[in-house]
């Protein structure tokens, strides 16, 4: 195959990656996007094989078959819930591969005793380091998520200092390799070993809940490692695809952080600092999860069955119009919305009715507690808008509670329950609400009107 054809076909592969990644951005086209990018990968592989011509096919076919088999088996057998760690693992292998390519190329030149051009040796160091960090870091991320080790941040005094030192030594060794005339085997091993250790150390202090961000970042690293490999063996498709993934991964980790309302720096180095922002703790040490309007929007947008539980807070925020608008939006997207009206929601009999009538919510969407209480269990999302006491499960069980015995709306039985309120403050009865600490509950803090407006515009964009 003439070299220009090879290169053109590589370009085709690169374009397929670009188009594929682009499509992965939208729910409707995502799956096709993945297939397109897969096609790009196939093109790249076949072009490479054709270009290589007559070679030792045992090794190649063996490697391809073994690798594919392992990869596919793992991918197809893994539980849906274990996806993130699977991605981490696979990503680690990708980084490992880049590292090995760099290493092989180095060792070949080393054995040949050739002098390596400065640019080449530089990118070689980068491909080794980044590949190694990706490999070991990903393995740690995998271990944390798979609970092979504790998911909690592992920290100790002077950790930052140790890491910094390690990093300096690593840079020093790599620099030595670059400036030296003939390749040196010592620094080579040193670099690989230290980079592997660095990967471990970098991921250790990050908590399990933040792992997705880390994986995305490591993914970015593995892209950069591939690109560096591309520099080493002077191959464009590696550079393009690697760089694409490199930047995409960084942006994605940033998006993820934004969705968690944190900075990337906070995720990566947060455990070192004094502030632990893991979430507000109640008196009994329970944890509250909060969610942003952006994050919630997508889940709401695809919900089939939604129940709105309005409470006094909706009245205070005068958010009835927004509540209705949101409901309309959900219905336009094919979901069904009911309003569950608790007999004593608000501060006067019929308080919610007045407001919802003002917002022109049709009467037939309003349901009494008794009519609707059984439906929570198969409700995708329950929106608790400024209600508190009327959804407090303590009234069912806690005989000491002042609201014990009051029938409540079963918001806690919904598949997902999102509570709109400004703080963790109690409602009229002045009692803590256990619902807020439940697994399936998320808090959307802020004035209900503002939160709903935000949510509406986010849902519109989904």
């Amino acid at each position: 195959m003439p070299p220009w054809l090879t290169q053109l076909l590589y370009l085709v592969a690169a374009v397929l990656f670009i188009v594929g990644l682009k499509r992965l951005n939208t729910p409707a086209t995502a799956r096709r996007g993945n297939l397109i990018s897969g096609a790009g990968m196939l093109v790249a592989i076949f072009v490479t094989l054709l270009d290589l011509g007559q070679v030792n096919y045992t090794v190649i076919i063996g490697g391809v078959v073994v690798g594919s088999a392992l990869g596919l088996t793992a991918a197809l057998s893994v539980q849906m819930t274990a996806m993130p760690q699977m991605v981490a693992l696979l990503n680690g292998f990708g980084g490992g591969a880049s590292m090995l390519v760099g290493a092989a190329e180095f060792l070949r030149l080393y054995q040949a005793g050739e002098e390596i051009a400065t640019p080449t040796v530089t990118v070689m160091q980068l491909s080794l380091i980044i590949g190694a960090v990706t490999l070991s870091g990903s393995l740690i991320a995998f271990a944390k998520l798979q609970e092979l080790m504790t998911g909690r941040p592992i920290t100790y005094a002077g950790q930052q200092f140790v890491n910094g030192l390690l990093f300096l030594v690593l840079v020093g060794l790599a620099g030595w390799q670059v400036v030296t005339e003939v390749p040196l085997i010592g620094p080579f091993y040193g670099v690989v070993a230290l980079a592997l250790v660095l990967g471990v150390l970098l991921v250790m202090p990050i908590g399990g809940a933040d792992m997705p961000v880390v994986i995305s970042l490591l993914n970015s690293y593995s892209g950069v490692a591939a690109a560096m490999t591309g520099f080493v063996i002077n191959n464009e498709v590696l550079i393009i695809a690697g760089a694409l993934v490199g930047s995409a991964g960084v942006i994605l980790s940033q998006l993820m952080c934004k969705a968690m309302n944190r900075s990337l720096a906070n995720v990566l180095f947060g455990a070192f600092g004094a502030v632990v922002t893991a979430g507000k703790k109640s008196a009994e040490g329970l944890t509250v999860k909060s969610i942003t309007a952006e994050d919630f929007a997508i889940q709401l947008a695809y919900a089939q069955k939604v129940i709105v539980v309005p409470g006094y807070g909706m009245a205070v925020a005068q958010a009835q119009h927004q509540a209705r608008e949101l409901a309309d939006l959900i219905e336009k997207r094919g979901g069904a919305v009911k309003y569950a009206i608790h007999p004593v929601a608000g501060r006067m009999p019929g308080h919610m009715n007045v407001l919802l009538a003002e917002a022109n919510v049709p009467y037939d969407k309003l349901y009494d507690m008794d009519e609707v209480n059984d439906e929570f269990a198969d409700t995708d999302v329950c929106l608790v808008i400024g209600a508190n006491d009327v959804v407090n499960p303590a009234s069912r069980t806690d005989t000491s509670s002042p609201i014990y015995g009051m029938p409540i709306l079963n918001a806690d039985r919904a598949r997902m329950c999102v509570v709109f309120k400004r703080s963790m403050a109690a409602g009229f009865a002045g009692v803590e609400n256990e619902l807020f600490y439940r697994d399936k509950t998320w808090m959307l803090f802020g004035d209900a009107k503002a939160s709903l407006s935000k949510l509406i515009s986010e849902v519109k964009q989904v």
């Binding site: 990656f17 670009i18 990644l21 992965l24 951005n25 729910p27 995502a30 799956r31 993945n34 897969g38 990968m41 790249a44 592989i45 490479t48 070679v55 030792n56 090794v59 190649i60 490697g63 073994v66 690798g67 594919s68 392992l70 990869g71 893994v78 996806m83 993130p84 990503n91 990708g94 591969a97 390519v101 092989a104 060792l107 070949r108 054995q111 997705p212 995305s216 993914n219 892209g223 591939a226 080493v232 063996i233 191959n235 498709v237 590696l238 550079i239 695809a241 760089a243 995409a248 960084v250 942006i251 994605l252 994050d295 929007a297 997508i298 889940q299 695809y302 094919g334 964009q461 989904v462």
Partner: protein, 100 residues
Amino acid sequence: MSTEALIIAIVIFTLSTFLGVELIGRVPPTLHTPLMSGANAVSGITIVGALIIAAGDRGWISTYLGFVAIVFAMMNVAGGYAVTDRMLAMFKTKETEKKQ
């Protein structure tokens, strides 16, 4: 690697980097994980490097390391695309159901 080749590589790298940034524009949070996984699959492109190393006549070290690299990279590629597709299939069903 010649300096000129390096420069060109850098140009291409830079352009691709910008492109990557722009591509991941306003991805909705549900797609964060699939997108991460899909991008991970693409990073398996290092398979090309692995193939070249393993196949070329570059001595036994390259062949051995290349073999391992192929296995690793291929796991990343095959597993990566398969996992992504599984995630998206789930997603897809929900989408399609809605349309009915």
